[in-house]
Symmetry: C2
Amino acid sequence: MKHEKRIDPWGTADIDDYRNLFDEFGIKPFDKFREKLSDSRYIRRGIVFGHRDFERIMECIEGNKKFVMMTGLMPSGKFHLGHKIVADQIIWYQGIGAEIFLCSADLEAYAVRGIDLETARRITIDEYLTNYVALGLTKKNLTFWFQSDYVVPYYRFRDMLTRKVTLNELKAIYGSLTPGKILSVLTQSADILHPQLPEFLGATPTVVPVGTDQDPHMRLTRDLAARFQSEFKLILPSSTYHKFMRGLQGGKMSSSEPKSYIALTDDPEVVMKKIMNSKTGGRATIREHREKGGIPERCMVYDLFLYHLIDDDEELENIYRDCRSGDNVCGECKAVCSEIMIKFLKEHQRRRKRSERIVEKILEK
Amino acid sequence: MKHEKRIDPWGTADIDDYRNLFDEFGIKPFDKFREKLSDSRYIRRGIVFGHRDFERIMECIEGNKKFVMMTGLMPSGKFHLGHKIVADQIIWYQGIGAEIFLCSADLEAYAVRGIDLETARRITIDEYLTNYVALGLTKKNLTFWFQSDYVVPYYRFRDMLTRKVTLNELKAIYGSLTPGKILSVLTQSADILHPQLPEFLGATPTVVPVGTDQDPHMRLTRDLAARFQSEFKLILPSSTYHKFMRGLQGGKMSSSEPKSYIALTDDPEVVMKKIMNSKTGGRATIREHREKGGIPERCMVYDLFLYHLIDDDEELENIYRDCRSGDNVCGECKAVCSEIMIKFLKEHQRRRKRSERIVEKILEK
């Protein structure tokens, strides 16, 4: 099926690209939860498209029972709109009453990316926590930790994991290994599972929202949880899978390529330029565009509307239609996009300034 | 050189067996320190026969400067006379003013030997600490820890080590690897080096008394210390090398073979039998023994005198002569050995009962 033939303002048909995840790896489509959880824009628009064992989390949500949402941040580079997808999910889960466990993977940054712990700490605070808070994160039900600055039962548990996994298993999953990679993998599993230790919450349904590239890690962590049944009662963690934002130029959105992303601390002028230079779904000439209509599925500007800028579904649908019909040309969309984006960023950057005290409180032990 | 030709009551000539350690691996003979430190029986008798960088420790001893003696215990099986060689050295170093860092390798026991942490804790206390204290260990200048129950800077440092070593290096040193082995190796290096972290004593000369089988680990740890010069000021740890006691039957002294060792909690009756069944340096017949004389270098009973039971050098020399001349036959030596051993064990086992309170204090944080 070609993109041109799809009529789908939410891009949920893109899910076909992920079909092999369902067939080969046992990830399940998220469809059946969509209606009930439609207040989440990412769920409603199919950006969160897959899951493992989310039924268990749905039960907790509907039965008002305790559950954990666990996620980590990698303290390297700028916080951009790609990262905002996870941030928004954290905040959404916090809003519906989840216990939030939020981890700065500073040890992984140190061991695998060569970022020293002090720098990782600074990036965590300036780039991540401050933006999270400005986006709406509060201290409520929030446990935040640095991997390098945590308590004994967590470390002990991570060390215990070494007995339940072989080097060959790790090689099969992660390819060539280094001591740093092995450490990072075990730390990630401990990050996900330790909230269930007796010293923390005990056995508790846990959901981890991830990109599909992280699924092998979820599978390993679920295996490890199963292998620990005789020592601890651990519930296999659930996961949800969301799409990645593409970069503004059409490739990968990457922290190492500033043109590919909009950072939440970018200057409005810079942002305007980035949007103007974005890849769109427009035709080669305006005449052709008017005749054939644009292709919003291939448009990075449309992605910005879809993921971040336009909450109202009807409004989004109009943009989609006006593009496909050729009524709107790219310059018009870019102008609209810039205006909304800059308004959002200015407000966000104001909020950042007021976030400092809350960030301090989050960092308090 | 054949054993028979040697006239050496201390067995220091055995050092020839270790000659390749000097030539190939750069371990230095301990001879030059022997006279100055002759109050240590193991040093005086050449049981401690080699070192790396012990000059640095000698300077501290002579200059009355602070230094660390670090060692670990593996909490598996019975505490026997082989383990007593390290125990006596700990107590000797404590006596001359060293800061003692003593570690229970419970994580290694868990990750590599499949011993659960509770069992490891019990063995640490009942088999090791209680015997150490009964042998003379006190709380003075003593830092004791379980690998699984320690503080953040120690764990953080261990994790940082992952960046300074490759998997191939570890493979070259330790052969086939498992996640548990990798963990154990890094933990051992952190055990040795962490007393020098700013959160502990800062850069301090450190000596680790080990068997030669542990030398590869000392080399790795010294390499790691060198690689961390930009992050921390770490002084390369010194080491001394001591001989192992052979088993009573002539093979290896091993916790998994009760006939090979005398445990410090063995019943006197059992001990008597073990000594009576020991391999000796006696000849096939009493007549041949009287004619040719015995070979104390091949005698496990003589080892017991040499390592543990006879402090007075002249007395030991007499036993040696009377064996070589054929004046003493094995039955006589065994009887003398049994008597001294049982007297020692009875007194030791009485002391164990009085050790409980001191052990409790050592375990207090």
